[in-house]
Amino acid sequence: MKGINTPGQALDERGFASLPPQRARYFTLRSLHSLGRATSKLIPFPSLRLEMKGIVSILVVLLLASLPLSAFDGFTDIFGPTDEVAVTGTSQETPFDPSLGINGSVGFSIEGMRALDNTREIETAIGGGLEIDLAWKGSIVDAQAKLALKPTIDTPLQWIDIFKGLSITSYFNGGRLEAGLLKKEWGAGDGVHVVDVLNAPDYRNGIVDDSLAMKVAEPMVLTTANWNNTALEVVYKPLLVPMLVAEDPAHRWSMLTEGQATLFSTATVNQTTSAELSRFANGQYGGRLVGTFGPADLGLIYYNGFYTMPAYDVRAYYSSGGAIDIGFTRAQLFATEATVVTGVFTFMFEGGFWLSEDASATEPETYNSKWVYLGAVGIRIPGTGAYASITCHGQYILGFDETNPIDVDTMQANQSSDGKAYMNTLTAAVDIPLARERVTVRLAGTYQIETKGYALLPSVMYSISDDLVLKVAGRLFGAVGDAPDSLFKTWAANDSLAVGITYLF
């Protein structure tokens, strides 16, 4: 695999750039089908790490300054500290008592996969580590730090992997104000969304059965006002944080095809710098209004931000051998979400319109406007305690020009939806508790209709005790029959089986 010709980088004797330094960040040209988001090519991303580091340092100071605090530990204002039946008919509210809450897990896992060189050997990846959730609760201030120390043999720890969340929340009458590195979820769907826009996705480890782990904690300020059965969230994000993918083009979770890797190894790529990503003009903002109306929860969303996938201007490269410029497309999302419950069924809907800065769909280097949609139904299976859901989601690109191969929308569609303007994906999941919840069987699968690509994520968890869990999980990727290129087809060699044990505290 050839390296990336980063500006200013020396070429080797063959005229190729060497591989970038370890742990630099890249974005790839491959699109993601199942999750309705596309990505683009390789961009080193070290400077944003430094930005994050600075923010993290500030937040640590603020967090420490907000002591003493505590975590939610039951209704301490109602119940006394001793276990005894109290008198009735009187309220014995106890005064607020700040304290510190610590939860977390420590674990070890080993995941085996076939070697990529077709030697039939098994490669193993050691995982696990320590996760700690620290929470303080004061009279009007909360602080939270979600830390992960999960070293791997081949990659050093980074700030972005250590701080999964770091925030301070101040409460006021009828609402709250949160600031820090946050992960938030918008939308009604069961783990799959088309309107969940506040965090960039993280595909460096492919697809896992933990939707929160596949999000990048982003710096943001968010305020929420509650009244009656309604909540209004308003958010501001100062940085443009693009999606994360496997950094090494030779990595098994890289989203690059071989042809794309060759293209970008021979081209000069004008990188997007951290300064550009953090310009004031790149600030993003939005709001979400959610209310309860009878058996339904309904929401409205407005968001003025960016598509998180980079867009590539390859016109100069193909016309004169010039550089490939990387940019990001600003767009506004107008969306709605709904959850309707009837009997054992839960119906979920999301729908929205992304209005691109290229509303006329005339600029090949920016993404077009598009419709996105999602419909899902969940059911509690009677007599079993099991829950199952099925989701269909997709998008339709407006002004799609399939005759223009250098248009970013066409490039994306060629990678993710067999060159079509529309893209539809089915996702199903079932969660079955057995043996009085000692055993949990989970199966999740997704099928991208246009490319016939699929991913299956089965797992079995056995609780040796309440705080010690053994987990066996698999990941299966591929495509059905004579399928066109797709992400899942690219990952077909990445089928894996993992065994891990986790202690919860």
């Binding site: 039946v85 109290a86 609402g175 959850t339």
Partner: protein
């Protein structure tokens, strides 16, 4: 004088017979109504420990706290799971609607989000215990929900008790229940749950400890045993408060998400 003595004699006889007469007037319905009345409250707060006991005697503990408030005949309940660590800080909010259905939301701390869900299936196991969700709400039926028949009296655990058979008119996993009701406290001392037409109960609830606190009878410890696998679950009321002022902010999705009434 003779007339006076006769009147006095009749009065004494009536007084002596009064308890028996009153008792004889009790019906299945009236007894079960008193059971419900005894446990009724405009608000309640309970700190509960569940101990799951398998047939080998191995135990697992769960700790929950629950608050309930009834306003205008509609009950809102919030339940917080405190342990084990895998479910800690999971929070459920249930709001009863005027049409008889419930709205239910769940907060999953691992995801950090509140999600609306379908109301819990009544006969599904509660936290892997021998109690169903419906059992957790009540192990007896009110007079609108079942036909109650007084079968007789008995002495159970040195307590005088009524034996009442209840055949539910509502959808229930049980075709009938038989309840031993303490004549003094009107608390259930034992409940046998029958499924289908089985001769033996599929589950048996036994009250192990009661207490009289400030004139109010409370059940402090009960155990439900499932006959098929000899698995049982003990519920201990560690703390309980009734009819206390309660912040309505607890029964909101905002509290679910933040753990604060704001």
């Amino acid at each position: 004088m003779k007339t006076t003595r006769q009147a006095l004699g009749i009065t004494i006889i009536l007084v002596l017979l009064l308890p028996w007469m009153l008792a004889a007037q009790e019906t299945g319905n009236s007894i079960m109504q008193k059971v419900m009345d005894t446990q009724a409250a405009t608000s309640s707060a309970m700190d509960i420990r569940l101990t799951l006991i398998d047939s080998n005697g191995e135990t697992r503990e769960r700790r929950i706290q629950t608050l309930s408030i009834t306003e205008n005949g509609l009950t809102n309940t919030i339940t917080v799971f405190l342990s084990p660590a895998s479910v800690k800080n999971t929070r459920f909010l249930t709001r009863e609607r005027s049409d008889g259905n419930d709205d239910q939301w769940i907060y999953l701390p691992a995801l950090g989000r509140v999600k609306r869900i379908a109301a819990s299936e009544g006969n599904g196991s509660f936290m892997g215990s021998d109690f169903t969700y419906a059992d957790m709400a009540s192990t007896t039926y009110d007079t609108q929900e079942a036909d109650h028949t007084l079968l007789g009296d008995a002495v159970l655990l040195d307590r005088q008790a009524y034996i009442v058979q209840s055949v539910p008119r509502i959808v229930s996993p049980y075709v009938k229940t038989t309840t031993w009701v303490d004549k003094e406290s009107f608390l259930p001392l034992r409940v046998e749950f029958y499924e289908q037409q089985a001769a033996d109960p599929s589950k048996v609830l036994t009250t192990e400890e009661t207490a009289l606190v400030d004139g109010r009878w409370l059940t402090r410890s009960i155990t439900m045993r499932t006959a098929a696998n000899n698995h049982s679950t003990r519920i201990e009321i560690l703390q309980a408060k009734f009819d206390i002022p309660m912040n309505s902010g607890y029964f909101t999705t905002a509290f679910l998400e933040t753990g604060r009434t704001q």
